[in-house]
Structures are given as structure tokens and as C-alpha cells.
């Protein structure tokens, strides 16, 4: 007999003790309206027909599941498959969520879209979808990230979005989210907040998960076609955690499939210059949800560091906290140097330049694969391509471009 996992979250947005809706009163009616609109869309076949059709013809889905033969050999034989989200339109998995929420915003009649971005991938995806759907787009981005990711800033502008620099706090993703929330509080009546990860107040963690689950659904079908069975491991990097939840969630009741989430250890867990919320944080409340958070003794949110801007965030989606609490997933951390090594390795063994974020997942995969039996199967979510990171890598190597 198979015991089905409970349907989570509950109606208040809780994954057991994680999640909820810790938001200013101004936003509660807007979150209620969003939840109602999403519930309506979720049960409307025409909404999904449009999502599926655009996913196929616009985003280029399904993305391939690719057998990484040379990487497999390099590691000693455990079969490594890469889910090629780097091949999706705009170069990362972020387009799935941006498309879903863009369609929802249109359905709700909201024409002004705001978004936050860290690496710039979500900002680019949001700007892309807004251009396609004819919506106004404002993207909040920390000044630190703007200087780290100039290419993505320019891409957003080319797509017609306004990029607003955020100079408060650590000038990275968390501060961009703060500023987007402040904008939403001020302009809530005509504005849709297109949040980019499985974080934030209910219903965002669930809604973003549902849009990103297309990754895991495709993976399941593809691995069955290729191998005739499910993988032993699924490995994905975790910042806020949307690409990881997207590939994990469709397998959540397949108990033999082990999940590994890889966080950013930055310059090392002991240095405090990292972004490993699940590995090294404590339960707290940030950006509207109860989850693991990097915080000091007084409950102030810590500044984080990772070479991968998309992982540089002190919180994590509540569903990951739940997976950790119940042991459904294991969370580990990989530091900047190891991620850089994996970045080179994948580039040179497979001819695929990964984004620095999934380079963390590749690094852990390589380490683990050498000690596993050959017949085992690992699927890694290659969540984005590395073009955007070439500058950072050159700087890390001391190369002048």
C-alpha cells in the first residue's frame, strides 16, 4: 500500500510549521485576491492550455534531458543526466514562473508588473514575458548585483523594462525584495508583484512551485523513456529554491528518489560569508514566510555572500524547510571555489558553460558520483546557462576581458 503525502500547503499556506502569511495588512486583501485568481486559473483548462502552448512555442519546452557521457566517465561511471533548463528561452528556468504569473496578471487585469531580481535571470524573464504580453515592467535590483551582472541589466532595458537600483542594506536580492514589497504596498490596486522564487507570503511559494513543476514532470517522463526507471538522486542548487522545488515536487511521493539541495557555502560556512540558510540557519520569518533564515543572535537578517548572485539570499522557500524537517530532502553546501571548478569541468567535458548557480549542484554531483555504483542514475537540474557569469569568472581568475 502506498501512503500519499498530505496535500500541502494547507489553506493558510503552511507546509506543517513553515510558510504562512506574515505580511503588512495592506497586502492581505491583495494576497487573498491573488489566491482566488490563482485557484480559478488552476482549475481552468484554458489557462493551462495557453501556458502549455506558450511553454512549447515560446519558451522552447520541453527542455532536453541530456546524458552527460564524458562527465559520467570523468566521475567513474554513475550515470549523470542534465535537465537542460539552460536551453529554455532567456537561458534559465525562470521563464516558466514568469510566463505563468504573467498570464495570471493579465487574467486579473493588472497592467503594471513589478519584480525583483538577484542574478538578473528572473528580471530578464519577467521583462521578456511583459514585452510579449504587452505589460509595463519595473524590476528592482540591488546595486551590488547591478555591478555584478551588467549584461542582464542591459538585456532587461532592451526588453523595455525599467531597472530600479536598490541601495539599502546589502544591496542584493533581499533588499530588492524589500523594495518591491514597498512598491506593492504603495501601488497595490493596479500592480501585480511577479515574485521570482518559491518564497514570500502564501500563495507565492505554492504558485511558483506549480509553474516550475513542469521541470520535474518532463524529467519524469524523459527518464522513464531513456532508462525505464526513475533516478536514484535528483540534485539541484538552492537559493530561494524554485528550480529545486520545480524538479523535486513531481517526485515527492516517489520515496526511492532521493533529493539533494545544494546551497552556497560562499567563502566557507565558518566565515559567515555564505548563503546556506538550510545548512546553517535557524527558523525565522523573512519576506512573509516562516522558514530557515540566516540571522544573528538578535534576529537581524544577515548579509550573505556567494559568487553566484542567484544563490545570494538569506532565506529559502518554506517547502524546502519542510522537506528538511521531515527528512524528504538532504541539504548540503558547496563553496565558491568548488563551484568555479565545476564551472570549468562542465565547460570542458561537455561543452556546456553552466551558470554559477547550478555549478554548485554539478560540484556536489561530481563529488558524490565517484562513490556510487555505476548503475545508479543522477539527474542534475542545470537551471541556467553561464553566459551571464563569464565576467565574474574572469575576475575570479584575474583575467582581463
Amino acid at each position: 500500500m502506498r501512503i500519499e503525502a498530505k496535500q500541502l500547503p494547507d489553506s493558510s499556506g503552511y507546509f506543517e510549521q513553515f510558510g504562512g502569511r506574515f505580511a503588512p495588512e495592506t497586502l492581505i486583501p491583495a494576497l487573498d485576491a491573488l489566491n482566488a485568481a490563482y485557484e480559478g486559473a488552476k482549475h481552468d483548462p484554458s489557462f493551462w492550455a495557453e501556458f502549455d502552448s506558450l511553454s512549447r512555442d515560446y519558451s522552447g519546452r520541453p527542455t532536453p534531458l541530456y546524458f552527460a557521457e564524458r562527465l559520467t566517465k570523468h566521475c567513474g561511471g554513475t550515470q549523470i543526466f542534465l535537465k537542460r533548463e539552460d536551453l529554455a528561452h532567456t537561458g534559465a528556468h525562470k521563464i516558466n514562473n514568469a510566463l505563468g504569473q504573467g498570464l495570471l496578471a493579465k487574467r486579473m487585469g493588472k497592467r503594471r508588473i513589478i519584480a525583483e531580481t538577484g542574478a538578473g535571470q528572473h528580471g530578464v524573464a519577467a521583462a521578456t514575458v511583459c514585452a510579449k504580453l504587452g505589460l509595463d515592467c519595473i524590476v528592482y535590483m540591488g546595486e551590488e548585483d547591478i555591478s555584478r551582472q551588467p549584461l542582464n541589466v542591459f538585456r532587461m532595458k532592451l526588453l523595455g523594462a525599467e531597472v530600479r537600483p536598490v541601495s539599502s542594506g546589502s544591496k542584493t536580492l533581499k533588499d530588492a525584495i524589500n523594495e518591491a514589497i514597498r512598491d506593492w504596498v504603495t501601488n497595490v490596486r493596479d500592480t501585480y508583484y511577479l515574485l521570482g522564487s518559491v518564497v514570500g507570503p502564501h500563495p507565492y511559494p505554492t504558485m511558483v512551485r506549480d509553474f516550475q513543476s513542469i521541470i520535474g514532470k518532463e524529467t519524469k517522463q524523459q527518464i522513464l523513456e531513456k532508462c525505464g526507471r526513475l533516478p536514484d538522486y535528483i540534485i539541484a542548487c538552492v537559493g530561494g529554491g524554485s528550480n529545486a522545488i520545480g524538479i523535486f515536487h513531481p517526485f515527492v511521493n516517489d520515496r526511492d528518489v532521493k533529493f539533494i539541495g545544494v546551497e552556497a557555502a560562499g567563502k566557507g560556512i565558518k566565515t559567515l560569508q555564505h548563503a546556506a540558510s538550510l545548512v546553517a540557519g535557524r527558523v525565522g520569518v523573512l519576506h512573509g514566510a516562516k522558514s530557515y533564515v540566516l540571522q544573528d543572535d538578535a534576529g537581524q537578517i544577515r548579509e550573505t555572500h556567494s559568487i553566484a548572485p542567484g544563490l545570494d539570499y538569506p532565506g529559502v522557500g518554506p517547502e524546502h524547510s519542510y522537506y528538511k524537517a521531515v527528512g524528504r530532502a538532504t541539504y548540503v553546501a558547496v563553496d565558491d571555489n568548488a563551484a568555479l571548478e565545476a564551472f570549468h569541468l562542465l565547460s570542458q567535458t561537455e561543452g556546456i558553460i553552466p551558470a554559477l548557480e547550478p555549478a554548485h549542484a554539478i560540484s556536489y554531483t561530481v563529488k558524490m558520483a565517484s562513490s556510487l555504483p555505476k548503475k545508479q542514475i543522477i539527474v542534475v537540474n542545470l537551471s541556467g546557462r553561464g553566459d551571464k557569469d563569464v565576467d565574474i569568472v574572469a575576475r575570479a581568475l584575474g583575467v582581463k576581458l
Binding site: 504596498v185 504603495t186 540571522q295
Partner: protein, 269 residues
């Protein structure tokens, strides 16, 4: 009746409630300004516990929080400051804090420490009533009022919910937006206050519950605004303008004269 509720017991008196961030620009300034505000005729004082990510605050209080954190201010230090102030002033003290520092402290431990420091109420802008169940019980055990907020976007159901759960008073957020001094208050503000008033009045009549004082905050920065709004609410909360004046004039005489002007304006309303 709680100490906060008593502050509204006097008929035809509109309460003046200043807000300051603890430890901005220094702890010493906090210890000086609170007695000055109390002398200048305020009825309650809101003490802000600084937080790293103040999503409901505009630039003035964001900067004040940031500076206070750089000064090493923690919830523990805020509790010590409150204890010292409580010996100097008679007006009730209310903490304004985001939820994480309180959650991190431990709800029970924090409320226990608040009670021992003479804190009478808590305002938590990111804790709507749906998430406040545990803290409601614990604050009640410690004789502390948990004050909820309503905004112009709040629906009729939410007004009823907050009216039933908020203790001490109901905090009406005057604008859609973050804290910060504004030249003009939004049109439709009187209609918002009237809507809440009629709901709370119906509720009081139906359940025999006591009267719900309504206090208005966010954006109020001049005596004229205070005089105008003082006619329709039971209290007026002023924060960012006070922080700005503390920055402009370290001797605090500007803050003191501003507080007196607000008191006079409210007495005329």
C-alpha cells in the same frame, strides 16, 4: 482597563502618539527625547525596535533603523532602555517591532521581559491577525495589548476581524504605502475612518464590547494635518517627522516645539 485603553478614557481628548526608533541617533538621545515628549503632552509613546529589513517603512525610518543597528541596538537593549524610561515617564510605552526579532527572542520570553520593563503594548506591522493567535494568548497572559492595523484596502470582514482582536486601540494606516512624512494626506481618508467607526460601533452595540479607540498613523507630519484628522480619530501617530527633527537639531528643541504644536493642534480639534 489596560493602561493604553485608559489613555483614551478622557472625553474630547485626542491622543498624541509620537514614534521614535530606539538608539537613533544614539541611546542617549532616546533617553533624553522620551521625557521631553512626555512633558510636551503626548499620551502614549511608540518605541521602534530597529530591524534589518523594515518592509513597511519609508526611507526616514529605514535609515534610522540602519543607524541604530550600527550603534549595536538589540531587542535586549531596547528592553533595558524601556525599563529605564518607564521609571522616568508615566505615559504608557508601546514597542513597534517586526516579527522576526520577537520570534527569535522567544514569544514567551519576550513578553515576559516586556512586562518587566513596563511595556504596555506591541505593534507588529508584519503580523496580521491570522498569524497572531499564539502571541495574542501570550500577551494577554502578561497584560500587554497586541495592537493590530487596518488600512484603506481592508475589507469589511477584515475590519470586523481586527476590531475583535485588536486590544488597546486599532492602528489605522492612513495611506497605501510605507511610513514617511507626506505633504498631503489621501482623499477618502475620512470615508475610511467613518467606515471603520461604523463597523466597530455596530460590533460594540451587538456584543456589548467596549469602545474601540482609532489611532491614525503613516504620513502625518504637520500640526494642520493633526488638527484636521484629530476631529475624527481618537489618536494621531507621528513618526518620520520626529526622526527628521532629531536629525536636524541634536539639542532636541525643535522636536520639543514640534510636539507642543501638535498637542495644541489636537486640543483645538
Amino acid at each position: 482597563m489596560s493602561r493604553i485603553a485608559s489613555a483614551f478614557a478622557q472625553p474630547n481628548h485626542t491622543a498624541f502618539i509620537p514614534y521614535i526608533t530606539v538608539g537613533y541617533p544614539s541611546i542617549e538621545a532616546t533617553l533624553r527625547v522620551v521625557p521631553l515628549l512626555a512633558e510636551s503632552g503626548c499620551d502614549l509613546i511608540e518605541l521602534g525596535i530597529p530591524f534589518s529589513d523594515p518592509i513597511a517603512d519609508g526611507i526616514t525610518i529605514q535609515k534610522a533603523s540602519f543607524r541604530a543597528l550600527q550603534n549595536g541596538v538589540t531587542p535586549k537593549i531596547c528592553l533595558e532602555v524601556a525599563k529605564e524610561l518607564n521609571q522616568q515617564v508615566k505615559v504608557p510605552l508601546i514597542f513597534m517591532s517586526y516579527f522576526n526579532p520577537i520570534f527569535n527572542y522567544g514569544l514567551d520570553e519576550f513578553c515576559d521581559a516586556c512586562a518587566r520593563s513596563g511595556i504596555d503594548g506591541l505593534i507588529i506591522p508584519d503580523l496580521p491577525p491570522e498569524e497572531g493567535y499564539d502571541l495574542e494568548l501570550i500577551t494577554q497572559d502578561h497584560g500587554i495589548d497586541l495592537i493590530y492595523l487596518l488600512t484603506p484596502t481592508s475589507t469589511e470582514e477584515r475590519i470586523q476581524l481586527v476590531a475583535q482582536k485588536s486590544r488597546g486601540f486599532i492602528y489605522l494606516v492612513s495611506v497605501m504605502g510605507v511610513t514617511g512624512a507626506r505633504e498631503k494626506l489621501p482623499p477618502g481618508l475620512a470615508a475610511f475612518v467613518t467606515k471603520v467607526r461604523s463597523t466597530t460601533a455596530t460590533l460594540s452595540a451587538a456584543k456589548g464590547k467596549q469602545f474601540h479607540p482609532l489611532c491614525l498613523g503613516f504620513g502625518i507630519s504637520t500640526p494642520q494635518q493633526a488638527r484636521q484628522m484629530g476631529k475624527i480619530v481618537n489618536g494621531v501617530i507621528v513618526g518620520s517627522r520626529i526622526i527628521q527633527l532629531m536629525e536636524e537639531d541634536k539639542s532636541l528643541s525643535l522636536v520639543q516645539s514640534f510636539a507642543r504644536q501638535l498637542r495644541e493642534a489636537l486640543d483645538e480639534s
